[in-house]
Symmetry: D2
């Protein structure tokens, strides 16, 4: 039995930046009986989710759905388009950008890692001029791809992807543009087509409000063309066969049926709310969260207000305070999970997730848990973040009324 003998009363608050809380409605959808992945009902389901997910990526091009978690989709992006020894220009926005680079090395690619020095790079978005400069130097076009993270989950910093595209174009460089928006999709505005992205990588357990286990590659025609000549070995991740079979709603191997049920339900929920309303909701909650952090007198990890993440907020601890000790205290006393600091910022900050199935009162509970926990941990606060967030939420109505008379 999974039910634990010593389980707290009341609902756990899962406020990490993913996996985000899975709505009951999606859990129910996922408990539909598993069906024959070669039968006619499956084909209808397949066509439905393949069509819906394109709208979330804001693309008309193929989106490949993998029965695998997000890390796999990173690999898929690389091995479908590149050949052993290829140089890729990657940008260090934080821990996940660093892991992607490490993966590129494991696969036999040669990543170059751009970025601002020290921790500073982890507090700002991608500096498109640095990319442009580097590409201009690459007159031989040794660089085959530029890889950036749209919403860096380890820091709460987004990046201006359109600017990266402009940088590549300004350098007249043929490199592919590959973007990880694993934690940005369906929470932050993301435009695969308009921004000229060649491969977008994403996953299920963030804005899509699903459990982990599904991941995505949105693929441009240029990327498809590149895949015809790329020499990295690939089988499971290979786009061609999947895209071909997807025409009728099927997959070449057994897909993740019950998670696809969940995806169908998530898409219904998102489109019912309206994609723009979803984005506006995330922006509003994120701003309320930042109002709280500022009122506490604490620093936000993202140092550039232009690229604050609507998905999560990194909260930097004062000198001498171990962020993980604060997290542990909050977990044990208030039954709330917060995100740990990763890599270079381990122990220096924690992360508040406010993505997916989140609303005003859930955020208020979260901030109250943080405020009580910070005080109990002995952190000196300048004022009440909870008060500031209530002030903001009370005076800023949501873009879309919550309920409409029948």
């Amino acid at each position: 039995m999974l039910e634990l003998d010593f389980h707290p009363a009341g609902r756990h608050f899962l406020q990490i930046p993913g996996p985000s809380p899975v709505p009951d409605r999606i859990l129910r959808a996922m408990s539909y009986p598993t069906i024959d992945h070669r039968g006619p009902e499956f084909g209808a389901l397949g066509l439905r989710v393949l069509s819906g997910i394109k709208k979330v990526f804001q693309t008309t091009q193929p989106v490949v759905i993998y029965p695998a978690s997000g890390t796999g989709a990173w690999e898929a992006a690389l091995c479908n388009t590149l050949s052993p020894g290829d140089t890729v220009l990657m940008y260090e926005t934080g821990h996940f950008a660093t892991l992607w680079k490490k993966m590129a090395e494991s696969l036999g690619l040669k990543p170059e890692f751009l970025g601002l020095p020290g921790v500073e790079g982890w507090r700002r978005g991608v500096q498109a001029p640095m990319i442009e400069a580097r590409l201009r130097e690459d007159t031989q076009h040794a660089i085959k791809a530029v890889c950036v993270v749209h919403n860096e989950t380890s820091t709460g910093v987004t990046s201006d992807i359109a600017a990266v595209r402009r940088a590549i174009d300004a350098a007249a460089h043929p490199a592919l543009l590959m973007v990880d928006t694993i934690s940005g999709l369906a929470s932050a505005d993301y435009r695969h087509d308009e921004w000229g992205v060649d491969v977008t990588v994403s996953g299920s357990q963030k804005g899509l409000m699903l459990p982990p286990g599904i991941s995505f590659n949105a693929v441009s025609q240029k990327a498809l063309e590149a895949s015809r000549h790329a020499k990295l070995p690939r089988a499971f991740w290979g786009w061609a066969e999947i895209i071909e079979m997807n025409r009728t709603g099927y997959w070449p191997y057994t897909p993740n049926t019950n998670l696809l049920y969940g995806l169908a339900e998530a898409l219904d929920m998102i489109f019912n709310e309206g994609l723009d309303n979803v984005f506006a909701r995330h922006q509003r909650l994120a701003e309320a969260c930042r109002q709280a952090v500022r009122a506490w007198g604490l620093e936000i990890q993202c140092a550039d207000p232009a690229v604050y993440s609507p998905v999560l907020t990194g909260v930097v601890m004062p000198e001498g305070v171990d962020a993980d000790a604060v997290r542990k205290l909050i977990y044990e006393r208030f039954d709330m999970s917060l995100g740990t600091g990763l890599g270079k910022v381990k122990g220096r900050m924690f992360r508040i997730g406010h993505l997916g199935d989140c609303n005003d009162l859930t955020l208020m509970a979260t901030l109250a848990g943080c405020e009580m926990g910070l005080k109990l941990a002995g952190v000196k606060l300048a004022g009440s973040g909870v008060q500031a967030a209530m002030e903001y939420l009370g005076t800023h109505a949501p873009a879309r009324p919550l309920r409409v008379a029948a």
Copy 2:
């Protein structure tokens, strides 16, 4: 399909004083396939819930479980023990006491309704001396039963049941003592045996954290004896046959199988936490809630601190403020349901439920929703209730640590 097309993102906060939020774990238990109510597995289930529920009533005597909602258990208590035209002494603590009295009239009984005058009676618990005085007058023992409400759901006032028993005994009166603790059971300390109650009435959708649909009569030997001579017609509600068949875990007619699954799970959860820990948790959350109300400068409906309810808190609006307009605003803007004022206090107060599957952060979300809503509704607040509640919860650790290292 039940899923609504225009449904808010995030979780609804159901903070009425019942039905209380049903934990996922109980909803899952309720989705076990329905079984044969005459088969061996059912008998095992029946014995298990019949044994467990006694512990919650703190009794060793029979507890009858009805496949019906709480109002039915009121009727059962009356029709099993009384005869047409019998006088019953009832006490007006609030709206539900009034409804029970109305039911007694419908059934052909003659209720006498004691109570303090005007709204005042709705702000205090049962005045045992008034009961004692009335019983002393009744030298002919025309009064066959004394009926009181333990936790008046319409006001947030509990009553001292032991004192009522002492009053009856002091008057040396043979009347039965019948108590409604529909909203008190499994949230407030309740002692059927120790307090000498003859019939206790309760229901599933409050402290037991179940959906509505099951109700209870805990029955003393004296009540059983009375039932042998009582003349009100009864069939569905009749104790004798049910208690007889319950010996082997079955019921004379089809029981509420899936709700019994939920009850088995709820009992596991309650006993794992420990009944005393459950009570202490409710007391702590209730006090935090009252700290908030006081900080807002608003009045608590219960005027006697000795009988504050651990289950819900009634919040009185200042003159000129329509409590239901405030509730509506909070529902529409913050997706939270609060309890309406009922009967004599309609429009004058609202009720905050903090019972069942509730914890610190859920309460904080609730209070934040109230505070933002009150402000938006133009209610002048003396200070921040949210701040006061955080102060209280932060400085008062729960009786039982939430989590214990594995």
Copy 3:
């Protein structure tokens, strides 16, 4: 935990004549979070189920939904319309008719019990001429109601309700006509209005495919008029207040919220299939079942082919065979539950349920379990019932194609 440590692999076959197997889809619907029974969403749900359930009763008149099991709805029918000491004419079709009569006695009514002598009455439907004859004798109109069972669950015999109405009319008698179709509703064609029924009693756990816990009274204008003068005490069961509050989709006391979710889903399923298709499916499966019983050389409990039940089939054991021993063997060896013989036919027959969420292959599994079990129990069979049922199902296509191309 409810999961049993020693549970067989594979799905249990619940082939009793109710509770019938609850489809996963309904169990999922029932696991929606419980909502405020006074909030706007609830009102919408209430109106929806109140409107839908009328179609199933084939009535335009009020249908009262009780948060109680079916036995309660029997009581409701009687206590809303009758006065202490009233004579009611009841007809003994089997065990459940007998229990209803017993209830009438408990409530202080004077039931007269018509019927054919001995076990014979349990093998045939209501003999309308006997009712007509008795009513003609009752020139003083002492008889206030005629009570019959439409689908006698203990025997698998239906009755011709229209004929009973004609009998009452032929006798020009003012008695109310009350009908129990607890196990017939939504499986057998039932026409509350057309057949001139005054009160129809039903429940959730049969053709409606829900767990037990909801029951119904469909009520004619004549019955409503009678209820204004009826003197049996009533409160919980009282129609007037419920019907009044139902106008806006609410109930005077806490309704059975999660079972109402299930009811909404069940109604969707039934109307999607089409009520006539549902009836035709039951008729077809019932005939296949009877083909099997005949091929085994066993007797069907119902001796009159005109009133075979589409819901269940009673199978009479040869002399000397204990039907319950056969049932036990089948339960233990093949993990299937069959209905026991009740009352006068205890040990002489068992009952096969083929109602609700049943299809061809489920029936075939059921019959195979019976056939193997009967043989293992040493019952001599004339031939293979399974073979006969396959022959019938294979050569009789369902009225409605199972699947339609998208």
Copy 4:
């Protein structure tokens, strides 16, 4: 909404050889709320499933769990142990063996494909002597691995893995032994350690009764050693980091949380039944199925009784009958899914799955659906397979009594 408007009544029979029907109990377990994959509860879950799954593989060595479907685990086995251009000896047992070989080519390996000529190879298990002979020729040890399928899902033929190990040993060849038992695990007796397998590949959606989405590599020390020198690029599939983090119950990237809940539940179910009882149950049901096929006068795809699959049975159609037309008829008329013929046997046979959560009556329903469907399709049958299967099941008691008195 996923519920289809035009859905048949009753339960669909999913009798393909995987995904197999997912028990309700597992679907419920999978609907537990998603938790923090870095929190303490997750670590406990991780250790539990990692320990339990080893018992199913009958190994004490590491089992790697991938958040990906089975095809991915094929790739993992190859890319962790081999280098570009390596020769691998693969054996053509059927369609899935062929797909694995195709994958090896895609990854830049050089598979040699042994097998009996024509369709004959698809009717018999691996011929160990052919492997031994080929390895003896390979005196230079160019062959780095021998890859075979234990339970060929496309045909219903198992292979004697111990014999393959003996063949390798007899040839004194250092090649790794890699085995696919995707559809055999937890249904057929499989002994990773005893049989000396170096990498065993499996998946979740067969004997483990889970939805697709989890796959496995059980890994010998020799395989781990090989992985230190293997040069195929790998990242997502890399064993080392996963095995290292698994020590504390965690994964390097986001695992498939909700499917792991299901796995924990599945392991409980399997161990409660007893692994040997699970195997015996599959053998018994498979034999009953074959009795039916023989009685129909049809051929079983597996021509060697020594290697009949306990998981599925391939049924060969008479000349001129399109197996897929039969399947379609059965699907549309009886709402049952059967497995299609794949590759070389497309249209010539269909497959009956009798694995996972299957019992006697489910099998009987399945066979009845086949028998009725075959007749409706005009296939001449020699006799009743249903009769033969009932005869067998009735006279062969299960190894373990289904139910034990409480």
